[in-house]
Amino acid sequence: MIIKGKAIKFGNNINTDVILPGKYLELIDPKELAKHAMAGIDPDFPDKVSDGAVLIGGKNFGCGSSREQAPIALKYSGVKCVLAEYFARIFFRNCINIGLPAIECENISKNIEEGDSISIDLEKGIIRNETQDKSFKTNPIPEFLMSILQKGGLIEYLKKGD
């Protein structure tokens, strides 16, 4: 699975309350949730990523509440993959479970600038910054998580696994 997109960058400790503020948790339609992605920190975010983007986070990305609505809002706003130094664990699981690739890579935020063209080979665990002509190796996603991602998320995985 190869993913391509322009980088949009955030700092450390981006929590799920800023990714999707609590007042939007009543919404169910993913497209409605997407309109409020990153509302707590960058209200213009959905416009910036609507053509497809790779989100770059720092340390502890997605900390806080277990709200799955946070990664859903990101996915449906146009984010194709989230790269971070490391994730808060519930957010990481939620991403994989809804079929949004989430990859940990040390020092990633130092090596990617906002707007850089990024391509990611999920199976090989290779991230390429095409703008800066640099490549990085990440820990490949464990096989069984990869198969969940390839099916498009945990629901599809369980459906076809029956």
Binding site: N15, E26, G64, S65, S66, Y86, I90, F144, K159
Partner: protein, 416 residues
């Protein structure tokens, strides 16, 4: 093995497990609430399984938007009620019958030492106070648990928090956990299990243990735990008929990290905007407050309300300050009423609400306007958490909150 390894080994049918190993474990109990339930139900239907794995092991509690504040919230509640009936879920706590999920769950006997518990809410780690391995998950994962009763876990490394000494007067378990998070940082325990041990923990009440385990996730931990002792045994036995075993770390268990704290040196702590690890002594802060919130799954229990009432009794909160007090459950509400605590809160100028998550998540009451400041006994002070992205939240103990409501600014209750 340490306590986390022992519980995961038992739940996955193995003799031994090691950190970073991935195991598939059988879930003992699962919990969902009114904001994560509808998405769970939607995902469950998509999986295509007709019946949930075990109606006795699912607990459903309404607490985030109760009573419903919008037609949308009412519809979410309706969806869950229909599911509960269809699936014959017995442990259902509707509006007026329960309160905050992280109080009701164990108060009604659904948490037992040594069990593996998951909940569709990040503060599920609270039940670690009773010696269980309890952790938060998302809605889709909960749907998979409803369908299969199983979930994969990466065995966590352990961070051990050893707390010696005795707390000073008006210094509380909340001050301890804020201090610890300030020391290790917001991501300081990411993916790890946090075990609390030592003299101060042995002496600590169940209410206090629930407070410290509740906030383990604020340091990124997978769960917090206090090994079960006689106090736990007594609390749980009164509430359940199911058998359980008290689990402890072996003496030769391996820990990734040990943090030593002397409780007698801790002074009242405050987490300043906008991260939980931005912790300072309360005496260093003189910020004026517009609102004080005493409640939440962190600090809305009897011990918390008694402490706040002791400070507020016969006094008036500073004019211009709003104070909201939220007992964590219907049971606590009733007990606080009988003890005369609610009367104290109302007489000093506070508002007492029904048992709900309420202001903590900026959902349906007590929201903040731009430029306003709230001192809360809850667990998160993120940007916009309680309302406007331009409002600010400080976190502290019920003692600090009550004393600050009287002063109209954040103060150290021990210096009054």
């Amino acid at each position: 093995m340490n306590i986390f390894e022992k519980i995961l080994a038992r739940a996955s049918g193995k003799k031994i497990v090691e950190p970073n190993e991935i195991v598939e474990a059988n879930i003992d109990m699962a919990m969902m609430h009114d904001l994560t339930g509808p998405l769970t139900i939607d995902s469950f239907r998509k999986i295509g399984v007709k019946k949930i794995w075990d109606p006795e092991r699912i607990v459903t509690i309404f607490d985030h938007l109760v009573p419903a504040n919008t037609i949308r919230a009412a519809s979410l509640h309706k969806t869950i009620r229909e599911f509960v009936e269809e699936q014959n879920i017995k442990n259902f706590y509707d509006i007026g019958h329960g309160g905050i999920c992280h109080q009701v769950f164990h108060e009604r006997g659904h948490a037992r030492p040594g069990e593996l518990i998951v909940g569709a809410d990040s503060h599920t780690c609270t039940y670690g106070a009773l010696g269980a391995f309890a952790t938060g998950i998302g809605s889709t994962e909960m749907a998979a648990v409803l369908a299969t009763g199983k979930m994969w876990f990466k065995v966590p490394k352990e961070i051990k928090i050893e707390v010696s000494g005795k707390f000073r007067n008006l210094v509380t378990p909340k001050d301890l956990i804020l201090y610890v998070i300030g020391e290790i940082g917001e991501g300081g325990a990411t993916y790890m299990g946090m075990e609390f041990v030592g003299e101060a923990i042995d002496e600590m009440s169940i209410d206090g243990r629930l407070t410290i385990c509740n906030m383990a996730v604020e340091a990124g931990a997978k769960t917090g735990i206090v090994p079960a002792d006689n106090k736990t045994n007594e609390y749980v036995k009164e509430r359940t008929d199911r058998p359980f075993t008290l689990v402890k770390s072996d003496t030769d268990a391996v820990f990734e990290k040990i943090v030593n704290v002397d409780a007698s040196y801790i002074v009242p702590q405050v987490a300043c905007p906008s991260s939980v690890d931005n912790v300072k002594p309360a005496s260093d802060i003189e910020t004026e407050v517009n609102q004080v919130f005493i409640g939440s799954c962190t600090n809305g229990r009897m011990e918390d309300l008694r402490l706040a009432a002791k400070i507020l009794k016969g006094k008036k909160i500073k004019p211009g300050v709003r104070m909201i007090v939220t007992p964590a459950s219907q049971d606590i509400y009733t007990r606080a009423m009988k003890e005369g605590l609610l009367e104290i809160f109302v007489n000093c100028g506070g508002v007492v609400t029904n048992a709900t998550c309420g202001p903590c998540l900026g959902g349906h009451l007590g929201l903040l306007a731009s430029g306003e400041v709230c001192l809360a006994t809850s667990n998160r002070n993120f940007i916009g958490r309680m309302g406007s992205p331009k409002s600010e939240v400080y976190l502290a103990s019920p003692a600090t909150a009550a004393a600050s409501a009287l002063a109209g600014k954040i103060i150290d209750p021990t210096l009054q």
